[in-house]
């Protein structure tokens, strides 16, 4: 079934189509929700709320981005609401001119996953959105309601911290 056919059937409130759409995106969206919230229960809540929004607001989907990108933005917004925002943005210094981080020859994905989990929330959120999900600093800043400068500095220090953790 093509995506357009699936969307049309979902708009008609067809439960089979809704389940098919859910099954297509559930893993990627659940993984994203889990990485952002750092909690499987919270990720379940985020996924549920996000897909209810998807089905109820699907008529607002104009096809300007892909359906996956549209759903992803909803998941990010829902997950971000779960985070403790006042404690989130660590006050950090200026970013040095040289922002490249030397990762060595290779990174063990298992260790990287664990290291991401223990990053401070602000660092983790920006790292996930930019490095894993492929958003730009501008898009990230808009979604999180921070400046592009904050996004850049959080990412730099996130990478620095990850490198330190992976070295040890």
């Amino acid at each position: 079934m093509t995506e357009a056919e699936l969307i049309k059937a979902c708009l008609e409130n067809n439960r089979f189509a809704q389940r098919t759409l859910y099954d297509r995106y559930k893993r990627a969206m659940y993984t994203l929700a889990y990485r952002l919230t750092n909690d499987f229960d919270d990720a379940n809540d985020v996924l549920q709320d996000a897909f209810l929004d998807v089905f109820r607001k699907l008529e607002n989907f104009r096809g300007e981005a892909t359906l996956g990108a549209w759903i992803r933005a909803i998941v990010v917004r829902k997950a971000y609401r779960k985070l403790e925002k006042p404690k989130m943005w660590q006050i950090i210094g200026e970013i040095p001119e040289e922002t490249s981080v030397d990762w060595g020859d290779s990174i063990n994905a298992e260790y990287l996953e664990k290291a991401i989990q223990v990053l401070p929330e602000g660092f983790r959120t920006v790292f996930i959105l930019i490095e894993i999900e492929g958003y730009t600093h501008k898009e990230t800043a808009e979604m999180l309601g921070v400046s592009e400068g904050t996004s850049k500095s959080q990412l730099f220090y996130a990478k620095k911290k990850l490198r330190e953790m992976l070295k040890n």
């Binding site: 990720a43 996924l47 089905f55 990762w103």
Partner: protein, 180 residues
Amino acid sequence: MYQLPEYEPSDEVWKKIEAGLNKDVLQKAIGRLPEFEPTEEVWSAINQELNLHKPKIILWKWASIAASVLLIAGLMLYKPWESPDISYSQEKLDKQLLLSPTDDSQKQYEMIVAYCKEQTYICQNPEFKELKTELEELNLASVQLKEAVGAYNTEPELMAQLSIIEQQKADIIRKMAMKI
């Protein structure tokens, strides 16, 4: 030719290449990060919530469409600019004895078939398979009955039978939907 000078790139070039290579190392590791699967309870909760808040049929919308159709039909029949000696005759069809142009259960059935192509594990469930077989048998009966009804039906019994079959089909589809 050998006397032509050579030029030295700036250090910035290597720095940028190195940064790019570093980024590749990170991206390769990101590509190997695990994915996680939500539990089946998440869909159950979504399904339940969607059942609680089914979209309401917007009656005024249908009412306005019906009013427009009546207005256009009225204007077509009432033409004061034409000579009055034209007469009309109409054959009345009993709508209750005619087939509906839309077949929602067929659409639902096609959706189930498409769904089963992507989600084999649910469709392999014996109860689900049994319901699907039952639905296919009813579909066949419905097709045969519709052929018998034809375009200008005059037999109320045929429509009564068809209505029973369609009701059974809807019931089975509802049961299948509850299983997904």
